[in-house]
Each structure stands twice: as C-alpha cells, then as structure tokens.
C-alpha cells in the first residue's frame, strides 16, 4: 500500500467522521412540520387580503354564525352570506378581492362559489385532507395540496365557474415535491427533493393529463419553502433550505443571491406582500430576510418579541407590518387569529426600521390585515365588523349585517 493509497484510505475514513463532526457543530435551520407545502398552509392562506385598500372585497368564514361573509371594504358594506356544507368544521376561505369567487376549503371538501354565490362542490377529488393551497386570483388558478401529497389544480373563469381541473401525484422524474407555489405568470414552480426546480405549464398539464414542465438544478438541498417574488412576473423565487435563504432566477436558472442562516430558527415564513423569512437567534434577536430585486437583504432587530402572528412586507412601500402577541405562537405561517387577545400591530419603515405605528389590536375578533387598515370581524351573532385605520384612530363600523339571516 503506497503512501498515496494510505492517504486516500485515511481520507475515506476521516471524511465521514469530519462530516459528522461538522454536522454536529453546525446548527441548521430546523424545518417545521408545517413546511413542505405548495402555496401556503390552509391556516395562513385565508388570513390575508390584498393590499389594494379601497376596492377590496374580503371573504371570511364567520366562526360564530358558521357562514362565509363577503364584505366590500371600500364601501364598508356586507354583500352576502354564503351557507357552507359541514358548517361545524374548520373552514379556510380564500376570497377574490374583486368578488368574483370564493374558495371554501375544509379538511374534507372543497367548494367554489362563483360570482353569484352558486356553489360548486368538490370540483376535484382528493383522497387526503387538503393541507395547503396556492392561489392566483387574477388568473383564476387554485392549486390544492393534500396530506397524501396529491396536487389538485383548478382553473376558473373570471366569474368563478370551474373550467378545468387536474389531479397529479407528487413525484416528477423520480423526485418528490418539496415545496412550491404558483407564480405571477401562472406557472406552478416546484422545488423537488433532489434540488431540481420544476416549472409546470399548468394549461398543458391539464390538457395532456400529465406533468408538463421544464426544469433546472438549483444546487440547493433541503429546500422546504418557496415563494415567487412579487412584481417580477415570475422571474425569481425566494427559497429557504435548512441553512440558507436564497433567490433563484428562473430565467437564468441560477442562484443569484443567498444568505447563510445556519444557527438561526425560522419563526415566520411569510408570503404576505413581498415574501420574506424571519429568523431568530437567541431569545430577542430576529432577522428579517427579504429580496430587493435580485439581492437578499436583511434587517436585524434586537430586544424584540419573536412572537409574530403575522408579517406583511411591502418593499416598494418601505413598510413592514406585523401582528405580535404576548403568547408564544406555535405556527410558522401567518395567522392573525391563533390568539385573539393581547395582540398588537407594529409598523416599521424597512429601510431604517423606524417604528411608524404601534397599536393594540382589538380582542376576540377575527382580523384581516391590509396595507393601511385592519379588518376585524367580531364574534357577534348579530354581525359586527370594524375597519380600523392603521395610521390613525379612525374606524368604520358595520353593524347587524346578520339580521337578514337570523
């Protein structure tokens, strides 16, 4: 055995040991059991409303009356109340901001209400329980992911009529879907378990009844979360793996920016506004990681409570709005209603983290957060909702909208 061979053997023996030692010494960003989804987990997908303040409609499942309300937040009026099947179950509602359709997801069923409130029950058959969903209201695209890892695709018309559907499995060319979302171009972007990015042509997939896609190797492993960037027409996605947050360019098929987050814990993965990741190191240091164009940015904050229920980022508007609680959330996605007491809203200027607003959030209510206001639906059987302006104390009330349904 010559010296070279001995060295090779030593290396062969040492490398696994060194690898184990490195793995043991380098803490990784732990993966929440609520990750590895397409779109957002159901609890988070229904908690947001689009930032178009004055023309927004919001659909919200009223946990008191067990109906779906549609509100016009511009005129602050109640448009209708939709009866749901299995009202006693947990319902997750995705509303189109233009009022064209409402998607009602439960752990057993999917119902789509069209513009006129007509229900279309279970347009796709999923044998598992719906777990997450991706939604592009302007394109009429809904992708539902269940706990058996089936992917259901629904395409709707502008009035909310279901036009076509397709259901596929999670394995593409031998790899399994690790995370994904629908981008602004209407493509389903999937990160596979082998680090390959798959860009699915939804129309062709439905037409050919099989996955139709292009792909490239991202060079990343262990990716569990993927979010298309806002306003770039599907060019880039933000991903997070065990140790990195990165921006992948889908056109150049390259990793254009990345940040090592080893040793930090992800406390919030948010697609509200511009996608961003919030990590925590220690007990009171949090870092906001986001994309500004093709560059990853980070803002560190100290002496902050990490108990974020909701985080909304507007990079162009230079604002970051969060809803915090004194309770410790157990979820990594956005949910402003996990706790309905001791909530407070904070708004920062992102560029210098100047605090722009701090105000307590009303208790007991289900709330939805927009750019400039909080919409609160109180557990009132008669019906009571308030739109609170974030930057001042003005509010608009809507009272007794359930009267016609009682």
């Amino acid at each position: 055995m010559d010296f070279k061979m001995m060295n090779t053997m030593k290396q062969a023996l040492l490398l696994p040991v060194l690898g184990l030692a490195l793995a043991a010494c380098t803490p990784s960003l732990s993966i929440s059991p609520d990750e590895n989804n397409i779109g957002e987990i159901l609890g988070g997908v229904s908690s947001l409303i689009a930032p178009d303040d004055e023309t927004n409609e919001v659909a919200i499942f009223d946990e008191t009356t067990r109906k779906i309300h549609r509100f016009d937040l511009g005129t602050m009026s109640h448009k209708t109340a939709l009866s749901v099947t299995n009202p006693g179950e947990k319902h997750y509602v995705i509303g189109d901001s233009q009022g064209r359709f409402v998607v009602d997801l439960t752990l057993k069923h999917l119902t789509i209400f069209d513009r006129d409130g007509r229900a279309q029950h279970d347009p796709i058959k999923l044998f598992g329980k719906p777990r997450s969903a991706a939604f592009r209201e302007n394109l009429g695209l809904l992708v539902v992911y269940d706990d058996l890892m089936n992917v259901g695709i629904v395409k709707m018309s502008a009035t909310g009529l279901v036009q076509s559907t397709w259901v596929g499995g999670p394995v593409i060319e031998g790899a399994t879907i690790a995370a994904g979302d629908v981008d602004e171009a209407g493509r389903l972007v999937l990160m596979m378990s082998d680090g390959v990015i798959v860009i699915v042509n939804i129309d062709q997939t439905i037409a050919q009844d099989k996955w139709v896609f292009t792909k490239f190797d991202s060079g990343l492993t262990g990716v569990s979360w993927l979010a298309p960037l806002s306003g770039d027409n599907g060019r880039r996605v933000l991903v997070r793996s065990r140790s990195k947050v990165a921006i992948l360019d889908l056109v150049s098929e390259t990793n254009v920016s990345e940040r090592d987050v080893s040793g930090e814990t992800a406390v919030k993965l948010s697609k509200s506004g511009d996608p961003h990741v919030i990590t925590q190191a220690g007990s009171s240091e949090i870092t906001l990681v986001y994309a500004e164009g093709a560059v990853l940015k980070a803002r560190k904050m100290f002496k902050q409570t990490p108990y974020l229920m909701n985080s909304h980022l507007d990079v162009n508007g230079d604002t970051w709005t969060s809803v915090e609680t004194t309770y410790q959330p157990t979820i990594i996605w956005n949910d402003t209603d996990q706790y309905r007491e001791s909530r407070a809203l904070k708004k920062y200027r992102v560029s210098d983290l100047r605090a722009l607003q701090y105000k307590p959030v009303v208790g007991k209510a289900q709330i939805r957060l927009a750019e400039s206001y909080i919409f609160a639906l109180f557990p009132s059987e008669l019906g009571y909702a308030v739109r609170y302006n974030i930057m001042d104390d003005s509010a608009r009330e809507l009272r007794a909208f359930n009267l016609n349904y009682l």
Binding site: E381, L382, L406
Partner: protein
C-alpha cells in the same frame, strides 16, 4: 240614633222628588234595602214561632243597651200587650207587604220634609198609603245602620196597614198609646220590636257579609292589574311571545255605562342562538266606553254584586325594541293605533275593593323595521288585579 230617624206619612203633607227603584244592586241602596226587607221578613217569620205568651215588645237583658230598646223600655204593661198582640196578629200581614212587593218603594236624593203641627221638618222617609208608595231618602238610608233601616222600613210599612179598624198613622192616640202622637208611639214600638227581634234572630249578623261587600254602584273606579300579553304571531326569531306588566285604569260609571282611560306597560324578552337577546316594551294608552251587566240575579249572594264589564276602546300602542348581543345593540321603536275590545269580570271584596280578571284584544300589529320584526297577529291580553270603587 233615634233622634235622627224620622218617618212620616204623606198624610202629614209631605213633599218629595222620587226616582224609580231598580233593585238589582247596581244602584246605591239596593243592597241595603233588599237586606232590610229580608231581615224584616225573617224576623217576622221568626216571631210566628213564638208562643202567644212570649212578648216581642220587651227588650231582653242582652239587648238592653241597644238603641232600639229606648223605644220599648218605657212602655206600660198595656202598651206592651198591645204591641205584642199586634205583632202576633198582624206580623204575617206585615211580612207579606215586604215579601210580595206590595209597597212601591222609591228613592229620592232630595231632602224629604213634612208639615206637622203647622211646621215643616225633615224626615228620612214618607209613606203614601193611598198610592201604596214609600219614598226613601237614599243617602240617609244608605248611611244608616242595619237596625235603623229595619226600624225605618217597618215604621213606614205599618202606615200601609190597618188594625182594629183603624189606619195606622202617627197622629192621635191608638189603643193604649194615648196622646196626640200615640199612633207614632205605637208604630215606633212595633218597629223597634222588629229591629230588636232582628238582632235576636240573627238577622242582623246573618246579612252582615252582604252589607260589607263592596258595592257596584260606585261612580269612580281605579283598576290596578298585572297583565300578560300574547304579542301576536310573527315569523321572526326575535319575536317576543309574551309580555307582562302592569296596567292602571280609571273609569267613570254612570249606571251601567261608563267611560275610562287605561295605561299599560309591559315588557318581554326573547333569546335567540347563544347571545342574542331582544327586549321589548309596549306602552298602551287607551280611551274607551263600557257597559256592565250582572250575571247573578240575587244581589245578596256573594256573586250578586259581581259583574261583567264589556268595553270598546281606541288605543295607541307604542313599542320599543332593543336587540343586542355581546357586542352591539340595536334600538327600534314603533307606534300604532287601533280598536280593541275587552271584558272584565269583577267580584267583590270589602271596603270598596274588588278583584277582577280581564281579557282584551287589540287590533294593532306592530312592526319594528330596523330589526326585521313584524307581528302579523294582534295582541291579546289577560290580566288580574284589584279595583277600588268610590
């Protein structure tokens, strides 16, 4: 009492204005008169059971303190015999006078005066034997005690009788009762004997309850009651089924007719789902007219004074409704007018107090538009309460 009871015959040139007597208990004095007549008849019937040697014109030891005994205590033995003989002999005839209504009794509200011995004096009653008419000062009669009424009626009744070929009049001597007012002395003695006999035969106490019962002839009535209202049919889940509250009414009666005003305030609530609660208050003000009648023909029985009051009314119903849950409340109000009918049944207590039950119906559907609540049906009300007539 003796001093204030004056009776006279029209032969003494009396003058009075009389009103006709109905006697169903619906007018002042009806009960008192009916009781007095019954007591006289009962006493005279009791005298028929007496042995011939028993003397009704002597006050027994138990009655010596009675004011009526003043008429008897100074009678001579001959006068006592005369008095007793009359009662034994003519008692049944006197009883028949009151029993068969052979005497036409009239009320007057005017003071009755008679001319006696050239001077006019006031009396409580005057009898006209020729016309068979007996006129009573109503107010005085009602105010008298039971024995005084027996005395007065007996005295006047005797003027319609003859004995030993002579009419019984106040003037002049009669048998052993000598002097210019011997006749009056005799008549008073017989009347007093009947009054004392009424005590001894328990005629006085036996009718005490009937006399003490509240009288239905009162003009002014105040009703206070607790009422329950069926609010009317509604398909709304917020509809209050029943409201309860109090009612206050004032009535003025003229005979069996009357007019009145009424104020009621009632509240009710309704719960819906887990937290919704509706509170409704209805206030009704009404004016109306009524007619009453007496189902019982016997004014001396317990149910005799009881009567039914049937009324029509015009009412304004004002309602307020508060609908609330744990977060908000809505207030609404409504006002509606309508016609209604009601029926009250009054039964007597004592001292002017009455009990009553009532049933009423009002044609007035209520709508609270802000809370989507409309009562299609009309409210019906039942109630019970007390009334005071004065």
């Amino acid at each position: 009492m003796k001093a204030i009871i004056f009776a006279a015959t029209v032969l003494a040139s009396g003058a009075a204005y009389a009103s006709s007597f109905v006697g169903n208990g619906g007018s002042p004095g009806d009960v008192e008169l009916a009781v007095a007549r019954q007591q006289i008849q009962g006493t005279l019937q009791d005298f028929t059971t007496w042995e011939a040697d028993e003397n009704p014109c002597v006050c027994g030891p138990n009655m010596e303190r009675s004011s009526m005994c003043a008429y008897l205590k100074d009678l001579t033995a001959a006068q006592i015999r005369t008095c007793s003989a009359f009662i034994h002999e003519k008692g049944p005839e006197l009883k028949a006078l009151f029993q068969h209504g052979e005497i036409q009794i009239e009320w007057t509200h005017e003071k009755i005066t008679v001319m006696e011995n050239g001077r006019r004096r006031a009396v409580d009653a005057v009898a006209n034997a020729k016309t068979g008419r007996l006129t009573l000062d109503k107010n005085r009669f009602v105010e008298m005690g039971a024995a005084d009424r027996i005395f007065l009626l007996t005295h006047e009744g005797l003027h319609f009788m003859k004995w030993k070929g002579k009419e019984l009049v106040d003037e002049g001597s009669f048998d052993s009762f000598s002097g210019p007012e011997g006749g009056r002395h005799f008549i008073n003695s017989v009347a007093a004997a009947v009054a004392v006999g009424a005590y001894e035969s328990n005629q006085i106490s036996g009718y005490q309850a009937a006399l003490n019962r509240s009288k239905s002839y009162k003009k002014y009535w105040i009703d206070a009651s607790i009422t329950g209202m069926n609010a009317g049919d509604s398909t709304s889940n917020f509809a209050v089924k029943n409201l309860s509250g109090t009612a206050l009414a004032f009535r003025y009666s003229f005979g069996d007719f009357g007019v009145g005003v009424e104020y009621t305030s009632r509240t009710g609530d309704k719960s819906h789902l887990n937290t919704i609660k509706g509170d409704e208050r209805r206030v009704t003000t009404a004016i109306g007219a009524h007619y009453r009648f007496f189902p019982s023909k016997d004014p001396l029985s317990y149910w005799g004074p009881s009567h039914l009051l049937l009324g029509v009314k015009y009412a304004q119903l004002s309602g307020t409704y508060k609908l609330k849950d744990d977060f908000i409340s809505l207030d609404d109000s409504a006002s509606v007018t309508g016609l209604g009918i009601d029926c009250h049944y009054y039964f007597p207590f004592r001292s002017g107090l009455w009990g009553f039950v009532s049933l009423s119906y009002l044609q007035a559907g209520v709508e609270y538009s802000k809370v989507n609540l409309r009562y299609e049906g009309n409210p019906t009300t039942i109630g019970y309460g007390v009334s005071y007539g004065f």
